[in-house]
């Protein structure tokens, strides 16, 4: 049985390492968690994700900006890499896969990568198509992988106008597939008009939405454990 006080200390260490974007300390914490025989899923959710939740709050309070978030993400990934091989398949009823990418005409991928990170953390299988992705590739990849979710990102107004075409094609072939759009020019009105299931207007909002989703999983997990 892992010593509760020690466990708490290790979780706290990982959480703070993410917040203070310290890759080395985060790796150290993750390794300690593994060495102690702690549950890897718990280490991810109560350590790394807890840290990212705080980062999201700091961003909203305008204490952190995108450079800090990117460094926090590096720290999170450093820890995740160590913990991932020790994860047991979680039974949360949301196990799934997602196709994600930035649409053709746009080479910005920061928002996309932050959302991808939260999917990685949550144990999704992520098919990352990268950036400047031809529209048909999203449709093909969704069909090929039968993913439940497709995320389309565009930072420029000038590139997001290709989105409705992808949404229409995917929904036509697979009406149950959920589609999220993200990027500076998107809005609730556009998401509704184009038939998308969700939207996030920028990298921070995308991160916030993704954190919300993963926080929900975290809560679900805690409830399950308490039963």
């Amino acid at each position: 049985m892992v010593d509760e006080a020690k466990k708490k200390e290790v979780l706290e260490k990982m959480k703070n390492a993410v917040i203070q974007y310290d890759e080395d300390v985060c790796k150290e914490g993750a390794q300690e968690a593994v060495d102690l025989g702690m549950d890897a899923n718990e280490a991810i959710f109560e350590g790394l994700v807890a840290g990212m939740e705080e980062v999201g709050r700091l961003f909203e309070a305008q204490e952190y900006f995108v450079p800090e978030i990117l460094m926090c993400a590096d720290a999170l990934y450093a820890g995740l890499e160590i913990l991932k091989p020790h994860c047991k398949q979680m039974d949360l009823g949301v196990r799934g896969s997602v196709v994600i990418g930035t649409v053709e005409g746009d080479v910005h991928d920061i928002g996309k990568n932050l959302v991808k990170m939260m999917f990685d953390v949550a144990g999704f299988h992520v098919y990352d198509l990268g950036r400047d992705v031809p529209l048909d590739k999203f449709v093909d990849e969704q069909l090929k992988t039968d993913s439940e979710l497709v995320c389309l990102s565009a930072m420029m107004t000038t590139s997001m106008v290709g989105m409705p075409k992808v949404i229409e094609k995917i929904k036509e072939k697979n009406p149950d597939c959920m589609i999220m759009i993200g990027g500076a020019p998107t809005s609730k009105e556009l998401a509704d008009k184009w038939g998308a299931d969700g939207y996030a207007e920028d990298a921070s909002n995308a991160l916030k939405e993704a954190i919300k989703m993963v926080s929900f999983l975290k809560k679900l997990r805690a409830e399950k454990l308490n039963k």
């Binding site: 900006f65 995108v66 920061i110 000038t158």
Partner: protein
């Protein structure tokens, strides 16, 4: 008073009959392309096609300027990046950088090629500006734009790396911005020689959505000052996204006017910068001008003027598929309402 006189007087701070309606960024429309039968992807590398398209928004709608280029890659290309103009597609896509110049932190110590202004499309831009001037230069203001040093840095290296380094190694980033400021000055001076009336510096990478106002002031503002100190024509500094906390710094850059988008609370900015500073903006060029109704466009124009804008000016490039009835409504409302204040 014709459009050119109106814009020039605005920059000079002289009396004008109403607020002008123009832009410092791309404003080509599919209506304009239809008139000539041009494909968008073909415009970027042909001076005649580009100038025809740039002048068409004035010819068709009385939009009070002609502006080139239509993409954000001119300086990066002349520095050695490869670009993609998407000529294989029928859809309108703006050129992007296909191959970066700097691939890691160790390659940041670049030098500007000695024949920089003869490279890429810089000579083509000069030729294009000459054609637009011949076409509409007596009646409408002719503008061009360059990127700000931080935004240009984001074109020639990975934005992800640039952002992290601006935090971890600001000295190294500062050095790169200094070099890029020189490249930008050289480019802008060529456009001046070609006869533009005004130049917009687009530094959208420095928005407070991405960078803290502190980093903007310490790391980026000094190089914007360097640029504006060298330009002789009237200048505009454009930053999109959140800008309320940096609006005063934007004016300190030495730009004659500042340009903000729909995320800026213009009434608040006006209070901060005083009555006489030139503040351009801030209608949403997609959600209002393209996706909105003529009535929504008119309302937005009136709100911009009530909030204290000095010129009705879009928050970004105008998306080409703008419906003619919307741009006509905008011009009409500016004429009706724009003299009231």
């Amino acid at each position: 008073m014709n459009s050119r006189e109106r814009v020039i007087k605005l920059f000079k701070g002289e009396q004008i009959d109403r607020v002008p309606c123009f832009s410092g960024m791309g404003n080509v429309t599919t209506e304009g392309l239809k008139k000539f039968g041009y494909k968008f992807a073909a415009l970027h590398s042909d001076a005649k096609l580009m100038s025809d398209a740039a002048a068409s928004t004035y010819h068709l709608f009385g939009f009070e300027c002609g502006v080139v280029p239509f993409d954000l890659c001119v300086e990066a290309e002349a520095l050695g990046c490869e670009i993609n103009v998407y000529s294989h597609l029928e859809d309108i896509l703006y050129p992007t950088i296909k191959k970066k110049l700097i691939h890691n932190e160790n390659e940041m110590d670049i030098t500007i090629p000695s024949d920089f202004i003869k490279r890429g499309r810089i000579p083509l831009m000069k030729e294009t500006i000459g054609y637009i001037k011949k076409d509409i230069g007596a009646e409408a203001a002719i503008g061009s734009y360059v990127l700000g040093p931080f935004t240009l840095a984001g074109q020639i290296m990975e934005l992800n790396d640039l952002l992290k380094l601006s935090f971890k190694k600001p000295d190294k980033v500062g050095k790169l911005l200094d070099i890029l400021a020189d490249a930008i000055i050289q480019t802008a001076l060529e456009y001046e020689k070609a006869g533009v009336d005004y130049i917009t510096v687009r530094e959208m990478g420095a928005t407070s959505d991405v960078l803290s106002p502190r980093v903007f002031k310490n790391l980026i503002l000094p190089y914007l000052k360097k640029i504006f100190a060298e330009l002789k024509v009237d200048t505009v500094l454009h930053i999109c996204g959140k800008t309320n906390d940096i609006a005063v710094s934007m004016l300190e850059s030495g730009a004659r006017a500042i340009s903000v988008d729909q995320k800026n609370d213009v009434a608040e900015t006006r209070k901060k910068i005083g009555r006489d500073a030139l503040l351009f903006g801030n209608y949403d060029p997609y959600n209002v001008l393209v996706a909105g109704t003529p009535e929504k466009v008119r309302e937005t124009v009136r709100k911009c003027i009530d909030d204290g804008i000095s010129a009705i000016w879009p928050g970004c490039d105008i998306w080409p598929t703008v419906p003619p009835e919307n741009i006509n409504a905008m011009m009409d409302e500016v004429k009706k309402y724009g003299g009231a204040k």
